[in-house]
Amino acid sequence: MRLDSDIHALYNESVSQFIGFATSRGAKLVSSGTVENETQEQLTGAINRMVDRASLRRAGQVKGIAQKKCWGRLADLLKRITVLPLESNVESVKSFYEGLLGNEATRPKLEALRNWRRNRGDKRAGLMPEESDMKILSEAVAVKRDGDTLFLVSNDRHFCEFGQEIERAFDVRLLPVQNLNQFMIEHERGN
């Protein structure tokens, strides 16, 4: 029974496959320090919550091993992407979400998201996304050049729930992680 192989069987390989897919087609893949930090932070929390749910008697080492292995995998993944130092304008993204809050059609979604976060233990969760989320979206906007098609690959519900709104406001297309396989299949067919 090796955690290495067991965890491996549970990895979601779609991001890794997507990187290979996109690179082989000449697409430019970029990330930022904010994304890197955020991913690392999320990873630790996710691993620990999963192990906590299993109520192990000696969870300390299991968590440590899993954290180490997942961080290593993340580092390998990031080596395949260009990490850019990005200057961005968070204010425009803030205004965008404030606009969603003021809109009767979209406000309930933000409320539902806040409740979902609170149920997961984030007692500080408010209606607006975290500052780092807004920074990530503003960085994506900063990367975008006229005429380019820019995809933001994310699993973040503050982005995924508002894909159409984000595309309309910033011309950035949301690509949820769970749709990556479908996206690759469709592009294969298209080619």
């Binding site: 029974m1 090796r2 955690l3 067991d6 965890i7 549970l10 979601n12 955020e38 690392q40 932070e41 999320q42 630790t44 929390g45 996710a46 691993i47 620990n48 919550r49 999963m50 192990v51 906590d52 749910r53 299993a54 109520s55 192990l56 008697r57 000696r58 969870a59 300390g60 080492q61 299991v62 968590k63 440590g64 091993i65 954290q67 180490k68 292995k69 998201l113 979902w116 976060r117 997961r120 233990g121 984030d122 969760a125 996304p129 975290e130 780092s132 989320d133 699993n155 973040d156 519900r157 503050h158 995924c160």
Partner: protein
């Protein structure tokens, strides 16, 4: 460092005992890990028989000198020594180097006051031990400072197990899922407890003594950080950005020694190589797999 603090740096500002540290650092290009720096200064001080040096606490700090740790920080703050933190293949670690300013200070203010006899005695010892890897040097020092009476080792192991439990309980109360540092601390403590448990069946008192000393040192370090974390409302992750992701490398250095030693002595495999059979029951394993399978990985931040 600005001009005013430059001129303020007098011989009095640097503790006299720090000349051993400055001598070591001026003599080598770099010292890799605080673990090695501690043990190197210790060996130089003891083998060269330098008086008025650092006080080392052999049982409770491994041997480890808190004064040396503080002097190192002081010299770093004064711009005489540079510390670089490296992520490392397995764990983060520190590299210490004397700066140009430190070299000037050493040559002008320290070296002229050192007796040639002391210099002659210290030089070959630095050369000798600088060639050791951090783990080899730490083991050599722990062996030298081994606890003499075998019966005392076992009772000290029992006492340390209690101490580790206390520190573990503390970290469990501080635990929150998003903290990577506490995740590692709890893993290190649990591993050390397993190692000490296994060590009770080992016959060789030297091996037991080395493991005990290293675990004592780690326990002390974890206790030291606990003091920072226990301050109300002061999570180091927030107080000092990134500290939790890049905490004091010296804890990792000592733990790195412990698991390396355990592997070499066949006490336990390294933490990352441990078999899950030893860590959980079949039922627990099934629960873990289920938790991984059903966990909602979407995020909100």
């Amino acid at each position: 460092m600005n001009q005013s603090s430059e001129t303020r740096l007098t011989q009095e500002a640097v503790p006299k005992r720090a000349y051993i540290l400055l001598f070591v650092l001026s003599h080598v290009s770099a010292v890799y890990t605080e673990l090695k720096l501690q043990k190197l200064v210790f060996q130089v001080q003891n083998e060269a028989k330098i008086s008025a040096g650092y006080r080392y606490f052999k049982h409770y700090y491994g041997p480890y000198s808190r004064e040396l740790a503080i002097d190192t920080l002081t010299l770093i703050n004064q711009g005489l020594v540079h510390r670089e933190t490296v992520v490392g293949r397995e764990y983060p670690y520190s590299i210490f180097r004397i700066t140009d300013r430190g070299k000037t200070y050493f040559n002008q203010s320290v070296l002229p006051n050192l007796s040639s006899k002391n210099v002659e005695r210290m030089r070959p010892i630095v050369d000798k031990y600088n060639g050791y890897t951090p783990h080899d040097l730490a083991e050599a020092v722990y062996r030298r400072w081994q606890i003499e009476e075998p019966s005392k080792i076992d009772s000290e192991i029992v006492a340390l197990e209690t101490d580790l439990n206390t520190v573990r309980n503390f970290w469990e109360t501080q635990y929150f899922p998003d903290c990577p540092a506490i995740t590692y601390y709890l893993a290190f403590i649990e591993y050390s407890q397993d190692a000490l448990q296994k060590a009770t069946t080992i016959k060789d008192p030297v091996v037991k003594s080395v493991l005990l000393s290293a675990c004592l040192e780690m326990n002390q370090k974890l206790g030291g950080i606990a003091e920072v974390c226990s301050k109300k409302g002061e999570c180091p992750a927030r107080v000092e950005q990134d500290l939790c992701r890049n905490p004091d490398p010296s804890i990792y250095e000592v733990f790195g020694f412990i698991e390396d030693f355990c592997q070499r002595q066949k006490i336990l495999p390294k933490l990352w190589d441990r078999d899950l059979h030893e860590l959980m029951t079949g039922d627990e394993y099934e629960r873990l797999k289920d938790a991984f399978r059903t966990y909602d990985t979407s995020s909100s931040s």
